[in-house]
Symmetry: C3
Subunit: 431 residues, 3 copies
């Protein structure tokens, strides 16, 4: 394992056991640990606050939760796996027979070894999730059971983490991940960890654009973030919902709602250059793009990952664990995100300072001394004088460098180098 | 025959013998009879009134018109068939030989049994139309003939019928038909009768949009209508020139000038769903789309029918009669028009009341209790939660339901049902 | 040879020997001779004047320039071929050995018989160009040589020629050629001569549009012209960079930057109609389109010619002479330009004076007496009534006749004839 894979592995193991939900101490603890990696700001939004059509729910915390059989043995215990407890379960302490208990038990006959993941954020109830195997083994119908859920639903807060990595330009890309799932590794501890390391990488070198990094509980968290950052969200250039990035399967790409948006083109370019097969999914409402792409914001949000939600066996069950998800896979996804972001960061919009007629290149020290370079019009070659002329032709203050790259069929990196040279010579400038 | 077919048949038979032209009592009588079906308003526009580049002509009426041979026998008589008289023939009473008469006789050698249909609205002349067979039989060259046309061209009016069927929205579709042809069944008594029954059907159920129904003599009548309703005509959403809808041939569809306009898409969808072959004609200047689609109005006007003008044998002759045109065929065309209009009426433009982020469906009683419905992102399936999310995503106050239907690949009827539910829940509303 | 070919030949021979550069008496003399053909205006722009990012250079003139060997023999003499002297060479009179001389000698080993063409407008130096064969033969390394360049670089002017051929409309097309090359026949004496005769032809018949004809030294001349005619240049409809039109090879067409602009469609139509093969080059920065198509002007400039610059052997050497370029080839190119301009000149924008509903054709004497012409809707036939209706339909004051021609699939010449008839009848008019 490389150093970075080891770091990823370290945080996966520390964060996996925490009981996260849409609110609660497990969420705070998760963000606190991520602060070891990046300087996250923490936002606490109080219970009852209206956020668009929604309202921040009460904060949920659990001390313990178990079911005992008639012999007093804990046959289901939240401490063994936080998936055992339906998220947002009301407190309860009672004795009841199988007939009353069974409505509160959830399992999946089709996946007999797996504990399913279940939540009840907005319906007041309680419940336990167990594997079908355990259900059959542990719950003889003639017994009485003791159920204890020491949870509380209180006036509290919903907790968000955010940071803004400022670039030269105040225009921003959004990188958002959700951290409301408890011990589920691909969905979405993988995305949480990747996002933290991605942000750390972005901080290392100066960037053209600014990057807004958001850790929010899915849906309600993203909604709360949009509400509290409405003006900023209306100016986002595009973004990423980072989720399910650590599976063993092949890389996938879920497009944004406007397939013609260049963020899709950039992602496809990067993935195609890897030379490996990848799956492409159309836009859909699977995650927080529901909020970010809603009519008021219409941010083009893409997801790149490994093993998309819904699409892998064991999704939303205890099978989505650290046997399935490996640091190396997350590291691989991280590499793709970095390449995409590097590419996007080159999407600079330049303005030719001499829009009327051509720039006198020699006056600006840009004219080649070497005669060879003057043969500039034989097809779309790559010699510098040719690139300079086309760049100045296209840099009308409205067209980004990636778009120009596609028009010129010249790699954007090469264009970027020439553009910087022209910028230093003060013949063009960033808008 | 169904009841409706019988009704259609009844009116075909009553209306067929009337002598219609661009003006005159036959036109008034036609509209009076149509008032038995629908509450038509009658507009009378006086002779001499300027209507754009045109002028309302004198009103033309005929009492009788015949040719007698030297034995005093009526060999051609307007009473037998109103096609015998060239429409707008001047009054005349004279005796003349074959050489003088023959310039006033019209026939078609290629259709020897048929009386051709001929008009001379804007050139002062008179004439008779007869079959080629009769011509050869009845007009020996050595005889003298008596010609009598008891017509009058007077300061009168051009007569129009119209009604507005108001819907919830004041935005209108135009349904226009022309009723200036005398005893010609497909062109265009069929269209006149269909339009009346179509309007009656539209009145039966509340509509989203308003429908403007116009009975006008072709060309001059449509021009007069545009001139006198200029502002209304500039706001029409689209429309239909109802003509030639009762032939025995296959269904045809004549597109509007902008093939990309959704009225074309809706008609094609409806016709394709019938499972039967249909002919498609490009836009052309065959009828009153010349007026409605002119640069000042540019209304997209389509025609759906059976046996298009110009395209069937016997067109514009006495062969276009009630042997050719049957009530059942008109009934079939009426069914298509109704389906198209129902579809168009679903072209509702909704606005999502929560444009920022997603609507909290459970708060509005829209969240499914059944867990199955939650698996909403596996492809573009049809479960309700999925349709709700996509609908709310697309309902930006600018996009119509049919357009959303095409984007979602979900039948517009299904969308309509869900949209109504969302409307009742007050999470979206009509623009 | 035709008379016109003979005239072209005459001017080729007179103009070929003149020493042209970006400034100087040779340029003035060239324009003076062209004034025998067309009434060119001469513009003199003084040295030092700022033109956008550039500055008008000093004027350069040469009296004589030679190299003598140790025996006093002129072994290289500007009088024999003005290509021998690097354009803008500084004055010099000195004796020097081979080692010092050789840096000032230019040749092409790959084309051993050819004298290369070389300039040094913006770097102060001097030099001679010779064939590789002569270089080896005449310059033994052990000799001393005398170099004399009697040139002067003075406060002077840059000389431009221009004329405006006014049409009915003040909207202009631009026809620009460059005349800064000395004795090079295809690049670009051919373009200079063609442009003069093209302008003479354009003056012969009244035109719809105006034509701006510009003779300018490449780059600096076009820049100076843009700077001094900025407002006019911002309203140009499209144009031509006339260059390399007299080679023996096949016809080529270099597109403008917007391939969808109709000037490209018109050129392609004309070339396709010749029935001969032609080469198509994409837009590139080869010549003065660098100025005219720059962001401030964005004029769509095309080039049609024979043997494009860069693409023929001997390009920019003494092999580009009157053995390569023949009057007949220029005459052929001229014919193409004339056809294209005739076609463009038909790109008239008409406005239907009766935009609401149709024009009453009979009232304007436009309705056919012949019944045959009334069958106007059977497909897109060519009978006149049909053409009239479609023309009036499309003439919305925004759409040009060529565009309507493409939409109607009717030759623009036929449309033009009908449009003129309608114009005379005052039912439509030119915008």
């Amino acid at each position: 394992m490389t150093d970075l894979s080891e770091e990823i592995d370290h945080y996966l193991r520390r964060l996996f056991p925490l009981c996260r939900s849409i609110t609660g101490h497990g969420n705070r603890e998760t963000l606190r640990i991520l602060q070891e990696i990046i300087p996250l700001s923490i936002l606490e939004i109080p219970t009852g606050e209206k956020v668009y059509d929604w309202e921040i729910p009460r904060e949920w915390n659990v001390r313990e939760a178990w079911i005992k059989n008639s012999r007093g043995e804990k046959i289901v215990d939240f401490r063994n796996n936080n998936l055992h407890l339906v998220s947002y379960s009301q407190p309860v302490h009672t004795r009841l027979g199988w007939n009353d208990l069974k409505d509160h038990l959830h399992y999946r006959e089709g996946l007999p070894h797996a504990i399913p993941y279940k939540t009840s954020y907005y319906r007041e109830t309680w419940g336990f999730c167990i594997s079908w195997d355990d259900c059959r083994r542990l719950f003889p119908g003639d017994e009485e059971f003791e159920v204890f859920i020491d949870s509380e639903l209180t006036q509290g807060n919903l907790t968000l983490g955010e940071m803004l990595i400022p670039g030269k330009s105040r225009r921003e890309y959004l990188i958002s991940t959700y951290f409301c799932h408890p011990s589920l590794a691909n969905d979405n501890l993988s995305g949480v960890v990747l996002t933290a390391f991605l942000a750390r990488e972005l901080m290392k070198t100066p960037r053209q654009f600014s990057y807004r990094v958001v850790f929010a509980p899915e849906t309600i968290g993203a909604i709360a973030y949009c509400q509290t950052h409405e003006e900023a969200m209306k100016k986002i250039l595009g973004g990423f919902v980072v989720t399910c990035v650590g599976g063993p399967g092949s890389v996938y790409f879920k497009k944004s709602f406007d397939p013609g948006h260049w963020i899709n083109a950039v992602v496809e370019d990067v993935l195609r250059e890897t030379g490996e097969e990848f799956l492409v999914y159309p836009f859909d409402h699977g995650s927080d793009e529901r909020q970010y792409s809603s009519p008021a914001f219409r941010i083009n949000m893409v997801t790149v990952g490994k093993d998309k939600y819904f699409e892998y066996p064991g999704y939303h069950t205890s099978l989505d664990n650290l046997d399935l998800v490996k640091a190396g896979a997350i590291h691989q996804s991280l590499g793709i995100y970095l390449k995409v972001l590097d590419r996007l960061d080159l999407e600079i919009i330049f303005e030719n300072f001499n829009p009327a007629c051509e720039t006198m290149l020699s006056r600006h020290g840009l004219y080649p001394r070497n005669d060879e370079d003057l043969v500039f019009s034989k097809g779309k070659g790559l010699n510098e004088i040719h690139i300079i002329l086309w760049l100045l032709f296209y840099c009308d203050g409205k067209t980004g460098l990636n778009e120009i790259s596609r028009k010129m069929e010249v790699p954007v990196e090469a264009l970027g180098r020439v553009a910087e040279k022209l910028e230093k010579a003060k013949v063009l400038g960033r808008v």
